[in-house]
């Protein structure tokens, strides 16, 4: 249970960073922290105490295996997260070239 709570705290740390940081790159890093906490959560729900890698062994039918499905999901989600982060960093670089700053308080042309 402690692991789950730590994982949720990590999510909230990321959310706090997104809300309070003023630097564009730090916002991107905070988003990555949120992302990682979600992946960690997926890995945790597939874990079974004393389980081994799910390669079925006919000689020993009573072996306990961990759930392989969340691991497959996490691999897909990591690839998606990579694409999101790359897209965000590309936009941040373009924004820096336009405004000459990473400070979010200076970037406020859109209002209303």
């Amino acid at each position: 249970m402690t692991a789950y709570i730590m994982c949720f705290i990590l999510f909230l740390v990321g959310l706090y960073g997104v809300i309070t940081r003023r630097n564009l790159v730090k916002i991107a890093v905070s988003l990555s922290i949120m992302e990682i906490s979600t992946f960690l959560f997926f890995a945790l729900i597939g874990y079974i105490d004393g389980g081994v890698a799910p390669i079925v062994d006919p000689a020993d039918p009573v072996k306990i295996y961990v759930d392989p499905l969340p691991q497959a999901l996490v691999l897909t989600a990591i690839v998606i997260g990579l694409a999101t982060t790359a897209m965000l960093m590309a936009v941040i670089i373009r924004l820096y070239r336009k405004y000459g700053t990473f400070d979010i308080r200076e970037i406020k042309k859109l209002r209303g």
Partner: protein
């Protein structure tokens, strides 16, 4: 097993790759190839619309059959509700692509534009067709990432700022959704929507269940821009190129936001009264606050974007009324009337909001400005744009005999019959304010006489843009035919039946 179902996802993805490769060598390949592919997709989706009816068709990817009637493969499900969304996506996509033939000359890098456009279409088709939660997430991310890129397509400072805001909020939404999916898998040990329904039916863990519902509602609510989550929408939708704004506002927020919320809350979760009331309140708030934010806008596309929030509020509110009645288990016929009004308004909104964004794009194309104060007297020089935008404005503000009138009428009648008098009155008031706001748009853009000096060289936009706008305005008028019982019975009733009878949905998927 219908082997045509995955084509709706595979063809756009393949087209995106082909455009990037072949488009490098052949000039103008992208435009005509895109049209051809979208024509094919529209044809397939209308074929589905004619043949589906009340049936639920399942395609199992890779041919993985269920073991002991537990689904283990990836399911793609086509039913009465998703077929409506598929038709909207591909039809508006076709008309936007036709419109882009001329419009895209303002931008360089046409190949990238069309490749991203097809990723957007393929992702949305995937969201609407997929039958399990994780694939909804994957296809959602495909379409959302391409929409981030398309919003920033102009790479000016405004576009980049809008895209950054959109990406941060969209990222938070994605992780909330992923967290929710993780919780659902933890509790139900399955990801298939129909199977989750039966797993949740027996569980009694109320707290976790409520937490999951809140996570899912806030995640998809951010994608759908329901009011407390709306901050990104006006920036993103007004900064994108106009055909993309038409896609984002007309289709995207419905396919990845409203559709998923409605599908999951009706067909996956067991409808509970507190959640139904929460959804209705959120819808009402969007409806009222959206229109008040819209009325002070002078930028055409921002004005239209705020109206999108308000009109989506109508849909969410009427679906919410249906949910409240269903959860109380009373007046099932009024519940289906309310859901019918919501779905009807969703279809109508795709037509008229797509058309309005194309009009705004045409005005921007000729004048180079989006500010209402800088235009005027366009009715003479741009007759087609003026006429079609008049039809769209009258539709969105609910003037008979256009389509918006009938769907708003059904929503209001359902609210009165369900004894939610306050909601009915609010719906009428919001409709009147919408009318005022669009009369302002009409007057300042088309009728108010500007100074004669700069009027000389304004002429009507090129043929492809005019053609798309005229077709969409014809659709706006034709959609009011859906109010007749025979046509409504053929198109809307299958969708309503699936939503009001979730047991039938999960049963007919699990036995196939």
């Amino acid at each position: 097993m219908n082997p045509l179902i995955p084509l709706l996802v595979v063809i756009p993805l393949a087209a995106a790759f082909l455009i990037m490769i072949v488009g490098r060598f052949i000039e103008e390949f992208n435009k005509y190839f895109a049209l051809l592919v979208l024509l094919l997709l529209t044809f397939i989706s209308f074929y589905f619309l004619c043949t589906t009816g009340g049936k639920i068709t399942v395609y199992k990817v890779g041919g993985w059959e269920p073991i002991n009637s537990i689904p283990i493969g990836i399911y793609m499900v086509l039913d009465g509700f998703s077929v409506i969304l598929v038709c909207i996506i591909n039809l508006i996509g076709l008309l936007s692509a036709f419109y882009s033939i001329s419009y895209i000359r303002r931008y360089t890098a046409g190949n990238y534009f069309y490749a991203l456009f097809f990723l957007l279409i393929g992702g949305m088709n995937g969201v609407v067709l997929s039958g399990d939660l994780f694939n909804i997430f994957v296809f959602l991310e495909i379409s959302v990432i391409s929409s981030y890129a398309l919003v920033a397509f102009g790479v000016e400072s405004n576009e980049l700022e809008a895209s950054f805001k959109y990406q941060v909020l969209g990222g938070i939404a994605s992780f909330l959704i992923l967290f929710g999916i993780g919780f659902i898998y933890w509790k139900a040990k399955t990801l298939n929507i129909a199977d989750i329904k039966s797993a949740f039916g027996s569980s009694s863990d109320k707290t976790t269940y409520l937490f999951i519902q809140i996570l899912i509602l806030s995640g998809f609510g951010l994608k759908a821009a329901i009011i407390p989550f709306h901050a990104w929408l006006p920036d993103a939708h007004s900064s994108a190129p106009s055909p993309i704004s038409a896609m984002l506002s007309g289709v995207f927020i419905k396919a990845v936001g409203i559709y998923v919320i409605v599908r999951l809350f009706f067909n996956m979760f067991i409808i509970s009264e507190p959640m139904a009331i929460l959804i209705t309140i959120l819808g009402t708030l969007s409806m009222v606050i959206g229109v008040f934010l819209a009325i002070g806008q002078w930028d055409i596309k921002r004005l239209l974007a705020y109206h999108s929030i308000s009109q989506m509020g109508y849909v969410v509110m009427s679906v919410g009324i249906g949910m409240i009645l269903l959860s109380r288990g009373v007046k099932a016929d009024i519940a289906s009337l309310a859901i019918c009004g919501g779905l009807f308004h969703l279809i109508n909104h795709a037509a008229f909001k797509g058309l309005l964004f194309l009009n705004a794009g045409a005005i921007e194309y000729t004048l180079g400005t989006r500010n209402l104060k800088g235009m005027g007297g366009l009715a003479k020089s741009m007759p087609f744009t003026s006429a079609t935008s008049f039809i769209a404005s009258m539709s969105i503000s609910g003037i008979p005999p256009f389509n918006g009138f009938f769907s708003k009428l059904i929503i209001i009648i359902a609210a009165v019959m369900a004894k939610f008098y306050l909601l009915a009155i609010l719906a009428v008031i919001v409709s009147i304010i919408t009318l005022a706001s669009f009369l302002k748009f009409q007057r300042y853009a088309f009728y108010n006489k500007a100074d004669d000096t700069k009027d000389q060289n304004i002429k009507e936009v090129p043929f492809p843009m005019v053609f798309s706008m005229v077709i969409l305005s014809v659709i706006c008028v034709l959609l009011s035919l859906l109010v007749f019982p025979e046509i409504r019975h053929a198109i809307l009733t299958p969708a309503i039946d699936i939503l009001t009878d979730p047991a039938k949905y999960s049963r007919s998927i699990l036995v196939q």
